[in-house]
């Protein structure tokens, strides 16, 4: 277990290094940060002087070395726009994004398992056919379109839901202000969560359905039927447990992907999270913030994958973790 974790941390360090190198090398192609910092009438000489002052004219390796030296001490540079350490800016926005991802995950878990299992057990039932049909549509519509449609119907036409932002928040601790403790906060969470889950939900319903159908065909389930076990016990204890193994693997990877999808959802709903922050940073050529974001998201991917591997071991004790002898 310990060896496994150590190996994972070493892997993470390499991943971070590569990400930082890549994001650093693309920054020249993102545009000129000075353009976003000064007014249009400021002369080229003036801009060049500022660029010099900020060290942007130095050769690539000099700039990277300066960045790397600070980065190993946890300082990823200051955001041009926020004028604060980039890491701090991102960590402040992290809770908002995690709450959104949590809201979407909640919807996915609560809906995909019963619907997936039901359509596996009763594939010819009209409800199963409906679920399958709707899920095809769900997969094919892009997230931002779903988001705008939801907003149009529920915020503008029906006036039931707020159109943007997080609403009333309750301070929990540190940077964490939560929207889960007030009705207003929850109302603000509903549409973005649905929009964010709209891609993953159909995927999971289909995955659970096909895995479940496969498991129901297997020898041990037939044996269980032959033994005359209670159907509930067969479906929900014996079959479901084995169905969930691949689902957890895919799920872990997808939670990471979902962090990426938050960029679209957050932008449409003006959700003050990391994804929205990232898109804004790209627009403003806030390079320190872009680099820091990529590193943080890289870290999230590594962490979720590690956790998934650990859970996997718990659900199925026969699986051996790499490095665990």
């Amino acid at each position: 277990m310990l060896a496994f974790l150590i190996r994972r941390i070493a892997q993470a360090a390499v991943v971070m290094f590569v990400i930082s190198l890549i994001s650093f090398s693309i920054q020249d192609n993102l545009g000129d940060p000075l353009r976003e910092l000064v007014g249009q009438a400021v002369s080229e000489q003036e801009r060049n002087a500022l660029r010099e002052e900020m060290g942007l004219n130095d050769p690539f390796l000099t700039q990277y070395w300066r960045f790397a030296k600070k980065a190993v001490q946890g300082d990823l540079g200051d955001s041009y726009f926020f004028k604060e350490p980039a890491l701090q800016v991102i960590l402040k926005k992290l809770p908002a994004t995690l709450e959104l991802v949590f809201g979407a995950t909640l919807i996915i878990v609560l809906l995909s398992v019963p619907l997936g299992v039901f359509s596996a057990i009763r594939p010819r039932h009209w409800l199963s056919k409906l679920v399958m049909g709707v899920s095809i549509i769900g997969i094919s519509i892009p997230v931002f379109l779903t988001a705008i449609l939801l907003m149009y119907v529920f915020a503008i036409e029906l006036g039931l839901m707020p159109s943007f932002g997080r609403g009333e928040l309750v301070h929990v601790f540190g940077y964490w202000d939560s929207g889960f403790f007030t009705w207003d906060g929850i109302k603000h969470l509903i549409l973005p969560s649905i929009a964010l889950s709209s891609i993953m939900l159909p995927l999971f319903i289909r995955l659970i359905r096909s895995e479940m159908m496969e498991v129901l065909e297997s020898e041990y389930v037939r044996y269980a039927w032959a033994k005359g076990l209670n159907p509930k016990r067969i479906y929900f204890l014996h079959a479901l447990k084995n169905t969930m193994l691949p689902v957890i693997t895919v799920g872990g990877v997808q939670i990471g992907t979902m962090v990426a999808y938050t960029i679209l959802t957050e932008t449409v709903f003006q959700w003050p999270g990391m994804g929205f922050l990232f898109l804004e940073a790209v627009n403003r050529v806030d390079t320190p913030l872009i680099v820091a974001y990529l590193i943080v998201v890289g870290a999230i991917f590594v962490i979720t994958n590690t956790i998934v591997d650990l859970i996997y071991g718990l659900v199925n004790p026969t699986v051996k973790l790499a490095g665990k002898q």
Binding site: R35, V38, G39, Q45, D78, F164, T267
Partner: protein, 516 residues
């Protein structure tokens, strides 16, 4: 004890009466201010904020005249000197009293700002005559003293003196640092910042000691949320979550007009959108006949109608109506036959191929306009290889002059025609900074002479004559391709008196806003 309670109750009651019609304004803009420091960046956002937290000496009115703010009246002393009499009994948010030394202090700081020093370059000094009188002295006779005085928002010199917690001077002016002035502000304006989370929201509270007690404004709290996405900003207004939005995307104008709870305020704007033909890259563009042919081939009215949905004014010159340089004789001149003739005359009947670049998120419909222009040029056999880029990547390309035809929009910081000429059509000169945005390298010494002259003449009529002559010369030589002036649009709920406080500069004076 009872007496004290009674007094308190009375006080509370009277306060209640005073605030009986006080209102909260929730507004959504496409971005929030980058900094509380009014000298950090010369941008529309900074100036809007300056009008809320500070007051200028004088400000623009709706019909482009000046009205007194911190300067009660002003008079010309001699060719170089303009005297301003300052308002007495004005308090800064910190409680300090506003005097002439604050004006002087602010002026000196403006001279240090990379963004603002260009505007204050013609000025030599601010001389303090007495506590409430100053002289603004220019280096040479300068016609735009009042225009530029609208940029002078006196800051609280005592408040910004000394050092902050980090040991930095409080008046430190930096672009990318956590300076005191970028976080804290003390002005004389109608509002103070009560809460600010950058990129998420800014809350303003009305300053109880605001000097302008005659202002009808009844907004005592203002909550600004930046909403970047156009559809979301519109949705926020239509669903009633905010009271005011700007800018309004052209695609949603009808939607808002037809909404029973909202109203639309529009004005024809002053930002000109143009294409420039690079004569250093293409020998063809050195021939005025080719430049004119292109001008005849572009149909400004069609672009305005079809692409802008009528949300712009077709242009044939730089100066919009209302500016001194506006020449009423110059009209858009779409004429395909004439264009073809000119091409033939110049020996390019078969045409040629060129490259074109335009941004795709800087101006309203910029990408579509460029596509339409490319299609129009195809009719006179000019094949266009068009590339559009996000503004962040476009500006470095523009600085490098990377294409034969490039799009540029311009708004005059001084609300005066000469600003257009100085940046867009004067012969490029890196030393003086003239023609900094003249990617076409159009260069006519006669025009340069006239621009310089117009900068010295203080007689309005004579200036107008010179500048209208400049427009005529540019028109006749086809110096560039004017397209249109973008219209401005704002939207609010019906009970918000937005139209009263809006103007063509897009500086909403929310201090005077009335919400019923």
């Amino acid at each position: 004890m009872k007496k004290t309670l009674g007094i308190i109750a009375g006080a509370v009651l009277s306060l209640g009466l005073v605030n009986a019609n006080a209102a909260t304004l929730k507004l959504a803009l496409d971005a929030d201010p980058v900094s509380l420091d009014p000298h950090e960046q010369l941008s529309g956002g900074t100036l809007q904020l300056s009008h809320w937290l500070f007051d200028p000496l004088i400000r623009w009115t709706k019909d482009l005249t000046f009205e007194p703010r911190l300067a009660e009246k002003w008079e010309r002393v001699d060719d170089l000197t303009m005297r301003f009499h300052l308002r007495k009994d004005v308090k800064f948010h910190s409680g300090n009293t506003f005097t002439a030394k604050d004006v002087k202090w602010t002026f000196d700081r403006l001279k240090q700002s990379p963004d603002f020093k260009g505007i204050f370059e013609p000025f030599a000094d601010v001389k303090i005559v007495d506590d409430y009188t100053i002289d603004l002295v220019t280096k040479e006779p300068f016609p735009l003293v009042l225009n530029n005085a609208t940029y002078l928002f006196p800051m609280d010199s005592a408040f910004y003196s000394g050092t902050d917690d980090n040991g930095q001077p409080k008046d430190l002016l930096v672009k990318h640092g956590n300076s005191f002035a970028s976080r804290k502000a003390s002005g004389t304006g109608p509002f103070t910042v009560s809460y600010r989370e950058q990129g998420v929201k800014v809350e303003f509270a009305r300053y109880p000691g605001y000097w302008d007690t005659k202002s009808p404004g009844n907004v005592d709290k203002m909550i600004l949320t930046p909403i970047k996405e156009d559809p979301t900003r519109v949705a926020a207004l239509l669903s009633g979550d905010v009271d005011y939005i700007a800018p309004v995307p052209p695609t949603d104008l009808k939607r808002i007009e037809s909404d029973k709870n909202s109203k639309l305020v529009t004005m024809s704007g002053t930002r000109i959108i143009t294409f420039q033909m690079n004569q250093n890259r293409r020998a063809e563009f050195k021939d005025p006949r080719v430049r004119l042919a292109i001008n005849y081939a572009i149909n400004q009215e069609a672009i305005s109608d079809k692409i802008m949905k009528g949300f712009s004014t077709p242009a044939a010159q730089l100066s919009p109506k209302g500016y001194l340089g506006y020449n009423a004789d110059l009209k858009p001149r779409f004429d395909l036959k004439k264009a073809k003739e000119l091409m033939k005359e110049a020996g390019y009947e078969k045409g040629f191929s060129i490259t074109m670049m335009a941004p795709n998120n800087r101006y309203v419909n910029d990408e579509k306009i460029a596509q339409a222009a490319a299609a129009m040029l195809a009719k006179i056999n000019i094949k266009v290889d068009l590339k559009t880029l996000p503004k962040a990547q476009y500006w470095p390309e523009f600085d490098a002059r990377s294409a034969d035809i490039m799009m540029i929009g311009w708004h005059s910081d001084t609300e005066d025609s000469n600003n257009f000429y100085e940046f867009l059509v004067m012969c490029p000169n890196t030393e003086t900074g003239a023609g900094q945005y003249n990617s076409g390298n159009y260069c006519n010494p006669k025009v340069d002479e006239m621009v310089k002259e117009a900068n010295k003449v203080t007689d309005t009529k004579k200036r107008a004559e010179i500048m209208q002559n400049i427009e005529k010369t540019l028109y006749d030589e086809g110096a560039f391709i004017p397209l249109h002036w973008q219209d401005l649009a704002w939207a609010s709920k019906k009970n918000v008196g937005a139209e009263e406080v809006l103007n063509v500069m897009d500086f909403p004076y929310f201090g005077d806003l009335v919400i019923k």
